[in-house]
Structures are given as C-alpha cells and as structure tokens.
Symmetry: C2
Subunit: 444 residues, 2 copies
C-alpha cells in the first residue's frame, strides 16, 4: 500500500517538490490541519483518523517503478528522483487524541518537516482526516440520538468505495457504535461483527418458515430473522409459529429485523405479535435510511437496536467539510494566507480547553508558546519520524469519545443547532501576530 | 487486493453462504443491480464501474489466512472453508456498456451464478457500481453546464478516502472531464494529468514575484501561476511584471489560477489586467467549490477552464443512490421481493431504447426473452467466469458518453428537473409475470 499511497496525491505536490529542490527551499515548514467552518447541521466535530495519518507517514516511500514512471512522465528529473528515492518521513507531528471534540479553526494536526516533504503529504493527510472526522462526527450525533439503543454499521455497500467502507466502520466505532457488518473492518481493527440474513435467501425458499428454520439451524448462536421480504406482520406470526419447533431443537430466536416501511408502526405491531406468542425476549432490530433525526423520532418505538448505513457512512446531509492543511510557519517565520474567505490564523498553535464541573466551557486558540489554562489538546505524537507514544487502542479512543460527549454543554448535544456556537476564544497573542503579519504583508 | 476484496463484504453474505451450503441451495440465482429512484436533482444516470466489477469477479478468491481467520471467528466450518478455498467466479454476467445513460428500475448489471456465489458478491458489486455511477452522473451534469470549457478533477483531498479518489477520477473522465490532478489515477488509468502550484509555495517565498519566477523556471512547459494567496488583482499585475523577464528566458506563462472569492468578478478584472499587459494568450483557470449551478452561472465570465473537486467527487447534493442488487430468479423460477417501497420487477430483464432522429425517445423494460425494438442495452460480458468481449478503453467509453449525452432529449440535458421524466415503459410481459407472482405469493 505504501508505494501506491505515495502516488495517491495531486500532481502539484510533485511539481512543488521539484520547485523546492530547484530553488533550495528546504527549511522547516509547519503546516496545520483544521476545519474552517462547521457544516450547517453540526454543533461540534470529533477527531478521528490520526492513527491512519501516522501509518501513512511511517510507510511513505517511493519505489523504483513509481520513480521510473514519474521520470518518464517528465514529472521528476534526476535530482528529484534521487531525493524521492531516499525520502522517508523524518518530521515532527502533534495531534489531538482521536475521540476529542473540536471546533472551527482549531488545529487537529500539526506537522513540522522540510518544506518539500511537509508539502508532499498534504493531499493524503487531508484525504484521511477529512473522511474519518466527517463520519465520526455524523455518527456521534446518531449515538446521541439513539440514547441507549444499540447501533451497528451496515453501510459498506453504499459507502464511497471500499476503503471508505473500512474507515467508516472504524470512525463509527470510535463514535460509539457497537459494531459493524464489515468483515474486513473486523479483521483489521477488531471491531465486533454483526449480521442478519438476506432477502434473497428468503426469496430462494418456497416459504418464509422454511427459510427461517434453515437459517436458524445454520446459525444457532445468533438467530436474527429478516421479516420484511413480503409482509412484515405475517412474517412475525410465522416466527411465533416456528419458535417452538426451534426451541425443541435447543435453538433460541434472538431477534427479528424490519428493513422497510414505517419502522415505528411495524415494530409496535411485531412486538405485540411476538409478546402474544410468548416471545418477550426476541429483540426487534430496525434498519433502512436511518439518520439521527429518524432515530430520535423512533425513541418511543419498541426497537432494541438499529442497523445504520448510507446516511451515516456518506454523512449524507453534509458529505464534506471545509477543511485545510495550511502553511503557518516557514524557516522560523510565521506565515499567513489571506485569500478571501480563506484567511488563516498564523504560527504554531495550541488549543486549551477549560472545564467547569466536568462540562467544557470554553476553548482558547493561541500560539504554542503562549501560556494557557486547562487541557492542552494538541499533543506530541511523532518526533524525527518516530512515534513517541503508543497509539491508543480503539477501546481507549471510545472511552475518550464517551467522556468528551458527556462533557459537551447540553445545547451542543441536541440535534438542533445551538443558539450560540461553543466559545473558541482567539488569544491576544495570536491576534497580535496576525496584525503584525498583515502589516508586513501590506508592505510586500 | 483480491483477498482483501473477498473480506470486504457484509457478515450476512458469509452467513448466507453457510446456510445455502447447509441446506443445498446451490441452484442458479439471477440477481440484477438497478437504481430504485433517481435522486431529486438528476434527470438521468450514467453507467460506470463495470470494468471494476469484472475485475473484482475475476480476482475473487479467499486465501488461507483469511479462511483460518473466518474459521477462528466461528463464521465458517470445515465444509464452508472447503467451499470458499475452491471458490472462483464461474457465473455469467450481462451489463450496460459504461457511458450509457439509464433510468430508474433499469438493470445495469445482471449476474447468473449458483446462489451462494451470486449472493456473496452483492456487497462489493453495489459498493463499486454505486460510487462510480454516482460520480459519473454528477460529473455529466457539470460537463453539460461547462459547455466547451475545460474541466479538470482536483478533488482527491476531500473525496471519501483514497480508493474513492482514484475511482472518482475515472468516473469524471468517463463523463467528459479533460483530466485529473490525481497522480495514481494517471498511472492506473492513463488519465491526463494537470496541476498548478500551492499557496504554501507562494507563502514560503519573500515575494510572489519570486515564487512565480522560481515556479516557472522549474516547470517551463506548463506555467500556471496561482494568484490568490494574498490579493488576486495585485498578483495579476505581478504576473504582467514578470512575464517579459520569463519571456527573455524563453518561458511563456500558460495561465493563472484563481481559487477564492467571487470568481466571475476576479476573472473579469484579471483578464483586463492581463490583456492590458499584452498577455492575451494567458488562460484563466478558476476553482473553489464549483458545481454545475456555479459553472452555469459563470458562463459569461472570461474563464477558460475549471478545477472541480469536492462537490463533484462527493456528489455533494446527492451523495448516495437508492440502488439495489436483487434476486429476480432462482432455480429457473422468477422471484419478487414486495417489501413496502422496495418491490422489484421480477425475472431476467432487458431494456430496449428507441431513438428518433438520433434523440432517445423511450425505453422499454421487459423480460429478456420478450421481443423489443431499438437498442438492447444489456449485453453479455462474462460467460462461465470468462470475459467474452474486451473491456472498452476509456476513450471508447468517453465516446459512448458523448454520444449518449448528445442523444438526450433537451429537457433532460438541462440542470432543472424535467417536467416529465423520461418515459420508461413497463412491458405487458413483465406486468403479467409480476401479477402471476403476486397471485402465487398471496397463496404462500
């Protein structure tokens, strides 16, 4: 994957490398990744994907075949080929821990490395962080809306290609989902696996009863029967019918799944049918185009768990973030881009978060060397290309997320937009530096 | 990738395999992939991703390591392991040629294979087709809106992870874009590469003039200067200033790029500045959150080409399709799912398209063995797991797209929704089969 990853970039990163080498621009550049503005329906974002950025940086290298191809395309000359052949990431990295809540303008990641290297990694770093933050943030809203009911990721099929499917399972799990249907995600990340049965399996049988019995016999430990292929309530009665037969074989039915129609109404009716048949312990799982608003609307329905998919894994109401990876310092001098609507806060920055009675009350965005009170959110992660702390386990990240979501002010936990955005104070030191740079820039 | 691809699936596909094997359900199953409903802002969809489905099917296999893991998880027993170890795709496939316009309910792909195999491949097939169709369809709207101006994909950074970035470049190129900034997409698919320069490169220099000169000297064959880092018009004047110096070195400036602010207004002013400076041949490239509506609004601006990204590569106004891969026949008998809002047209189907004076006038959805007039859109692609025709080149697919877009009725080429959807006639033979199955299902 690493050599493929090296080419998974924009051409301009390579033209920049060449131009930096040609003109001796090899001083240390400091870049920060941040989100310029939160999407309309988001009160907060959740940090995710840092482990994958670290992995990408650690594995970054160009193989001979790639280099020959680049040279044949006229993208690199001998000097640049030599540089790329020896390239590995030897810079410093700071990052917020995954599972940390953050807001607009706050740097999530900072990289300090020679300019051509720090520039080269831009595309893939944005690509990795953008997606996992997007999905973890959407999933966190769904977790809040679901309250104590179980959520499982069923979204692989409509996630944008396979790699996003894998990373969406991770981002969802970080945010608090219970697991995924994605087998590869289970193997790569150890995320708990869930699955039910397919409509086609029911259709291939002469009767639903037979399909239910066959499925239950093949999977006696986890029998969740899909009951909406033809008529949901009729199928629920068939579940009641077959239950004693299966019980006689020592097989318990764990649940039924409803995947279409008015989920609340069907769940109500199915619950009654199951209860009347003595199947009080059979859980009801619902799925089908669920997002946080529908989960909230279904709060009173007798549904024990949800399969969520497309809307979470594409973050369908806000499928992209206005995020950037920007040069904030070069050769020891702070830098600032002032393009309209895209101006940045310059310099190496830190975010301090203050809590009162375990609820977060304000963040301060300031320069790294400024003093601050509270929790410093950016922490050193890599030094000279080596990890200086172990990456946290997914369990540890989930615990961080739980604590952060619990510490959110009540107004930010709601699905509606808060009347007031969370306070992110721009420190005087940062304002002063910005004014100074703007003065210098005018004199340019 | 193949072994990884085999596990890139939902757990229920594997539980279905086991249950099929346990109960002898190994007859030929026929599945079709189709889109149930077009998203709100789409008058048509464009077929894409068939080559990747064929590649997935040809490479499908489980390696020992994966099988041992599946067995350790309790997902497969000895019989299933034996089955999976020998598994390869030996079924038949029919598909619409990539670049074909299609509509709701029309099968894009049909697979006939033993049930456990045809079921197993569901997740990845949907995952591949959903994304490329989504992006090609969005990109086709942008191509129509751009009229003759050049469009280039700059979207990798905010596409949903790397694999989607690669496939979005392909889907966009199929739809008619001129190229991509994605280096890996150039290498894997031969798509023309485009690139300009980075804001950070400008920022790292003491002055913009110096950055422009350095960049031009490093890339004398393709000088596109980024002019919005500080003040767009001031930078345009600096371009005029440095042009004679570069000309004296034999270097021509090809273009300038504007990436922020009011693109139409800046383009107008920059054009005036360049023209007044004698730089009539310097092209203006614009980028920044462009979609088909903005491209249309910028029709009169003096912009020669556009970099398009996030909104195209996430299909941001409609980031998912209501698509499905459904069992239509098993063991020679047509099947029908009748879940609410998700009922399917049963049986092996074909779509016939009729044209009048080279404009498409109606499609007929009917059974494969029914007679039809016009162009049969589903064509045989694989037989017994082998390709029976060469996959078309990207150039051939682009030509197909151009011809199909040219054949669209005028109302469907517009960005607004057509008053009348394109007519897709459901043939009587198909209605009769559906009625017959519904009768049978009631008696179930």
């Amino acid at each position: 994957m690493s050599c493929r990853d090296a080419l998974l970039t924009d051409l301009y990163q390579l033209t920049m490398v060449k131009s930096c080498l040609d003109h001796g621009l090899r001083d240390v550049a400091v870049f920060e990744f941040f989100v310029r503005r939160l999407p309309e329906a988001r009160n907060f974002l959740l940090c995710a994907g840092i482990a994958q950025v670290a992995g990408f940086l650690q594995r970054l290298q160009f193989d001979d075949e790639s280099l020959s191809w680049l040279q044949a395309q006229g993208i690199c000359d001998d000097r640049m080929r030599d540089y790329l052949a020896r390239l590995h990431f030897d810079g410093d990295v700071w990052a917020m821990p995954e599972g940390t809540v953050f807001f607009a303008d706050e740097p999530v990641l900072r990289i300090a490395a020679p300019l051509p290297l720090a520039q080269l990694v831009e595309t893939r770093i944005i690509n990795i962080l953008h997606f996992q933050i997007l999905i973890a943030s959407k999933a966190a809203r769904m977790v809040l809306a679901a309250a104590d009911r179980q959520l499982v990721d069923f979204g692989l099929r409509r996630t944008h290609e396979g790699e996003a499917g894998l990373m969406a399972a991770r981002a969802g799990y970080i945010a608090g989902l219970s697991g995924t249907s994605n087998v590869l995600a289970a193997r790569e990340f150890g995320i708990p696996l869930f699955g039910t049965m397919a409509h086609a399996y029911v259709q291939a049988h002469a009767s639903e009863q037979e399909a239910f019995i066959h499925y239950a016999r093949s999977h006696p430990g986890r029998v969740v029967l899909l009951i909406d292929t033809y008529d949901t309530e009729a199928a629920a009665r068939k579940v009641v019918e077959v239950a004693p037969r299966l019980a006689a074989e020592g097989i318990a039915i764990d649940g039924v799944r409803i995947d279409s129609g008015d989920l609340g109404m069907h769940a109500q009716r199915v619950r009654s049918i199951l209860d009347a048949g003595g199947l009080h312990d059979v859980r009801i799982i619902a799925s089908g185009n669920l997002d946080e608003y529908r989960l909230q609307a279904l709060r009173r329905a007798p549904i024990d768990g949800f399969g969520v998919g497309t809307r979470m894994n594409t973050s369908s109401d806000a499928p992209c973030l206005d995020c950037a990876y920007k040069l904030q310092e070069y050769a020891g001098i702070a830098r600032r881009k002032v393009s309209e609507g895209k101006a940045t806060w310059p310099g190496r920055k830190q975010v301090y978060r203050q809590y009162r009675q375990e609820i977060m009350i304000r963040d301060k965005l300031t320069l790294e060397n400024d003093v601050g009170r509270g929790e410093a959110l950016l922490q050193p992660l890599m030094r000279h290309g080596e990890l200086i702390r172990a990456l946290p386990s997914l369990d540890a990240i989930r615990a961080r997320t739980r604590a952060q979501l619990a510490a959110l002010p009540a107004a930010l936990r709601r699905l509606d937009m808060a009347d007031e955005p969370y306070p992110v104070i721009i420190a005087q030191a940062l304002r002063d530096l910005t004014d100074k740079l703007d003065g210098r820039s005018d004199a340019d």
